[in-house]
Subunit: 197 residues, 2 copies
């Protein structure tokens, strides 16, 4: 046993956690999402840039606007989940950078004056934060159903009309319901993933 | 208290965890890295594609090959860290997909016949796994020092001559040493990140 993290936490976050495809009717409160954010906001990002932006879809109108952009196989479960979070990267995160990295306010102009550079950094670091968010949902005792099957351009326009955001993932959230879980699929072996030089 | 995760685990993984910039001499064993991988391999990826590949840099020769591609400000700490992990996305992950997703072996040809599509999916899901890895390092009671300041093309060629991998991040790993931590930089407020529709 070489991990410092206790076994219950290992199970909650990784070993016993599964992507959920069906949920009970139990609602997910704003307070729960706030608790998730207040935990995962500490996850590291390059230059502390924190490009993740989250749209919580709560109203019937919002749900309708969302579901029509989802891949067909994702529509029914996204329509039925207690809460859905649209996770996006803010490609114009650099505006906040002097405030977020007070030790190095020049970073905004030195590194991020070009949009393609900002976009690449926002994609990578937004994805890191998306993973922290999935872990955070599990830390709240909830199940996450992250999806990438959607019309990304359609979602970008639907929820971020400014052309400055890229949707990374859509995550269904709730308590797992009947038939929530598929059998665990195989994982790559250590020796297939890790090499040493 | 709305989280199911115990406070000690919250602190270990997020609240008290900091990016480390200096380390003690205490080595990091292969057994520890294996324990990290055996935990974080369960983190979800799209189509269970698991594109993350890890190169552990242990030999002096390997360290030299690595450090020359790092940004100048990252060289000294990367040269001195007990262990360095190069995290990359395998853009040709689809070869393994029929084995990794036995419930839907057609996914390989239906979704991933084109390299740009594979690459985008490998970048996103590789970054999710990079975040799981950072969390896993902390779960092992170690500190992580993730960096994106390097010549990516140089690193890709140095450690993956096949043109099929993209380095996502380089992570220093060890026990934090003197002056390891900078003061915590500010985090965005909930209302700056989360909106509801």
């Amino acid at each position: 046993m070489t991990l410092a993290l206790d076994t219950a936490a290992q199970d909650l976050l990784f070993r016993e956690a599964h992507t959920a495809n069906a949920f009970t009717d139990e609602p997910v409160s704003d307070e729960q999402v706030q608790a998730i954010y207040d935990l995962i906001k500490y996850g590291p990002t390059a230059f502390n840039e924190q490009p993740l932006r989250i749209v919580l879809v709560r109203t019937p109108e919002g749900r309708e606007r969302l579901v029509k952009h989802m891949a067909e196989g994702n529509r029914a479960k996204t329509a039925a989940a207690p809460l859905v979070a649209v996770l996006a990267a803010d490609n114009e995160f650099h505006h906040e950078l002097p405030r977020l990295l007070p030790s190095f306010p020049q970073a905004k102009d030195l590194f991020f004056s070009e949009r393609p550079v900002r976009e690449a950094s926002a994609q990578l670091n937004g994805a890191l934060q998306a993973a922290y968010f999935i872990i955070g949902v599990r830390a709240a005792g909830l199940a996450a159903g992250p999806m990438t099957g959607f019309d990304a351009e359609g979602l970008n326009k639907e929820f971020f009309g400014d052309g400055e955001h890229s949707v990374l993932a859509v995550v269904n959230i709730g308590k797992p319901g009947d038939g929530a879980f598929y059998p665990r699929s195989p994982r790559l072996e250590y020796d297939e993933v890790v090499t040493t030089v």
